[in-house]
Symmetry: C2
Subunit: 242 residues, 2 copies
DNA sequence: GCGAAACGTATACGATGTACACCTATCGTG
DNA sequence: CACGATAGGTGTACATCGTATACGTTTCGC
């Protein structure tokens, strides 16, 4: 039945399309991921993709599913706090492997089954840890994007903005000028300057990224988990609104 | 000097463009905001806009600035906790007025001066409240998107996904079928079902939005603020990493 | 009153998502 | 074994988008 096997091109499949899309986004960034470019990567005409995904939205949904699929399943036989912690850190690792995924997840409107599965099992970890349904509900909300392995970093970029955008194009930004702007910025935003100065020991970036992202993330997660544990021990209930 | 005043069309300005863009996005949604559509709203040819904003990115930056400008300045003469709380709730109100703003903020790469101003004064509130620079730094990270008045809601939409997307188009989704799917979903995602059941007392939505968003938001903010206060009182330092 | 800037216009290009019609290989069934 | 259905790939075409470039036209300081 494979008498044409040598000549026959490998056929597409939803799975192959999705994996290729993830790989391509990893390589060239999410903004450069177009249906056309993807089809080209697969050696196929653009419209061929539409036999496997309804449209680009569904493609993105599928890509998220691939990433979510990389998150480790819950570990068993531990306290809820370590279990949740491990899970979230695993989610974070998955998202660090696919830097575009945060942005894409944030644009999704309808959760896919894989996402529901992830949420469901995460909720289950709180429930198994003795959280009431009520508290679990609010706790899930409170975790927010941390559940996805990121915390909506405020900046990823360095190079703070000058007040007016006088044209400094491709030519390297005059270093002396830059020093002046930095000083001016320190005047205008003294508190920011204070923090960044404290952070920039052996770093050169102006703002952000001069700190250990992983540490920041774990700091936030642990602080929240501690808060949750305190509420649980107190038998907190949403009826007791302050 | 205004002898032609009656005939002369109102001239554009960066400010008018920005405000029109905000209004348009409020009305038709951010996805339908194109340079062409905006120019049409302003009774002008598309390219006219480019005399006031360099490109669409800068337009979006400007729109964020407008929204940020609506956030109340810090209140004085209170404890840091209420002050920060009020500020963040004010930010939240601004973002609820412009539902597109969360999404846009998350896509910005470079902070504008207005944004820096906002961050700076918020940092200042922690500093004035007795937080060390070090702790302030981590606390800002931990607040994450909450600083912006939102917590990355997991769903805004109802209508959970079925496993396979059999074609149900515009015609109303068969109510009996829907009930079956709901039951099936409760099987597959028991924990989600549990939480949503507890929440859906007098609501009909399948998942999410059956709860008081404002309450959830304040719950998360207050929990974090309490955690911060505890760290502050303990004289926490990032040197003491667990 | 004149030259220069600031502002609006006209036209055009390349890229994108995707509707629609068409071809073709594969396979279950008579 | 033939054949028609069906799944999968192709080709063409269109609307829409952001924006480069070149051109008019108002406005204002000197």
């Amino acid at each position: 039945m494979t008498h044409q096997a040598v000549v026959r091109r490998v056929t597409l499949s939803r799975d192959r399309v999705l994996r290729a899309a993830v790989a391509l986004a990893d390589k060239v960034g999410i903004d450069s991921l177009s249906m056309r470019r993807l089809s080209q990567d697969l050696g196929v005409v653009p419209m061929a993709l539409y036999k496997h995904v309804a449209n680009k939205e569904e493609l993105l949904d599928g890509m998220v599913d691939v990433v979510v699929g990389e998150i480790d399943p819950p570990v068993r036989d531990t306290d809820w706090q370590s279990a949740v912690r491990l899970r979230i850190l695993s989610a974070r690792r998955a998202l660090l492997r696919h830097p575009w995924a945060c942005a894409v997840i944030q644009t999704r409107t309808t959760p896919t089954p894989a996402v529901l599965e992830y949420l469901n099992s995460t909720i289950g970890m709180f429930r198994a840890g003795g959280f009431s349904i009520d508290l679990t509900h609010h706790v899930m909300h409170a975790m927010g994007s941390r559940l996805w392995g990121f915390s909506q970093e405020l900046f990823t970029d360095s190079s703070g903005g000058s007040s007016d955008n006088s044209a400094d194009g491709p030519p390297g930004p005059d270093p002396e000028m830059q020093a002046v702007m930095l000083r001016e910025m320190a005047n205008r935003y003294p508190y920011i300057a204070e923090v960044t100065a404290a952070v920039a020991h052996d770093e050169e970036s102006i703002v952000g990224s001069g700190c250990d992202d992983q540490f920041e993330f774990e700091f936030a997660v642990d602080l929240q988990l501690d808060g949750f544990e305190r509420l649980r021990q107190q038998g907190w209930t949403s009826a007791s609104r302050s």
